[in-house]
Point group: C2
Chain length 217, copies 2
């Protein structure tokens, strides 16, 4: 079992009797290569990922690294609960209609493309899920994203922020585009911005399944 140290800690009872290889946070490529070495040595090897390995997570890196090995390695991805599934559940029902997931990290993606995506999503009334809204080195992107969405959506549009979803230190905030700068958005946050139809009710966000002219509960 190969993974990021603190994620392995979360599943310690499940892997107690396994050979465990724990890595620190930034060593993603090292982790994957260690896993492939183990697999090629004949061991059934699991790479553990936070959330869903198939959504902005380790599955892609595994496939990319397999490509550079000469021997064939069989890969199976086991899906899981990504931040968008977990945060939507905590916030009520914000993802009942078309949505986009956008990472605000510009480490591997040009920032102008990220801006273009935010603007396109805002203009065509997608619910917007923001991954990696902020980190130690990236403080301004979330404010800029908010500005872009405000060009197309009312300040009263519901916004949900979930920090450390489903963990012991989970926090859930519901606000709106206008008051969003007052909320604590940090490295553990996922942000969901409602569409034009989303509404707040008893501290939850609900996006209706359709548009009023076609629709009645």
């Amino acid at each position: 079992v190969v993974g990021f140290k603190s994620y392995l800690g979360l599943i310690e009872p499940l892997i107690r009797d396994k050979q465990v290889h724990a890595f620190s946070m930034t060593q993603e490529v090292e982790r994957v290569n260690a896993a492939l070495d183990l697999a090629l040595s004949g061991k059934r090897t699991a790479v553990v990922s936070g959330g869903d390995p198939g959504i902005y997570a380790m599955a892609g890196l595994v496939y990319e690294a397999v490509r550079s090995r000469s021997a064939p390695i069989e890969v199976v991805v086991v899906p899981g609960i990504s931040a968008l599934n977990a945060c939507a559940a905590r916030l009520g029902a914000p993802l009942m209609h078309d949505f986009c997931a956008i990472s605000l990290s510009d480490r591997l993606t040009p920032w102008d493309l990220i801006e273009r995506r935010i603007e396109a999503a805002a203009a065509s009334d997608f619910v917007i899920v923001l991954y990696n809204p902020r980190s130690r080195g990236r403080a301004t992107q979330i404010g800029r994203a908010r500005e872009l969405v405000l060009r197309h959506r009312a300040a009263s549009t519901p916004v949900g922020i979930v920090n450390a979803a489903m963990r012991a230190d989970e926090e859930v905030f519901v606000c709106d585009l206008g008051t969003m700068p007052e909320c604590d958005i940090n490295m553990k946050s996922t942000v969901i911005i409602g569409n034009s139809q989303s509404f707040r009710r008893h501290g939850r966000i609900v996006t209706p399944r359709g548009y009023g002219n076609k629709y009645k509960v």
Copy 2:
């Protein structure tokens, strides 16, 4: 336990000793109202949904129906594996970068808005996940969606189709925008269209984590 008959069948061993209320496919509002009646009568009530109840599924309808009841009802959403999680896992790693989920059902949403979303997603290089691509009454939408994406993306762009993901009759196809019309897309399908960077390899689709100029494995 309240739910759609055939979904309840899938979990029969788990609910054998419960009071079960099975409904047929189109009775979504009836299902939810029956569940709320049971909850208000003092019973702990579960509404079972396919996939993730929080993604295009029953959670929203429950919250909308709770709104019309005078007595308060506590709702907890338990997240699950939506079609996008399951299909991504089966196809390799297509969702390693920003993506949109778009339902092609125009039953509750104006078709022109759906077209606008497809075009916006295609133009800004989102990976695109299409829910409800086709049904008995809706045969033309998927072809139109393909045309719109082809305005912005090469015919060689990878396309994955998963029918009945994670069920006994699961089928997985990998093709591209050019050959997509030859694939079997039906009521049980979810379609994932890669972005400009996605590639096919040994029958899987991988979307790299970033863009080449910023990025090296």
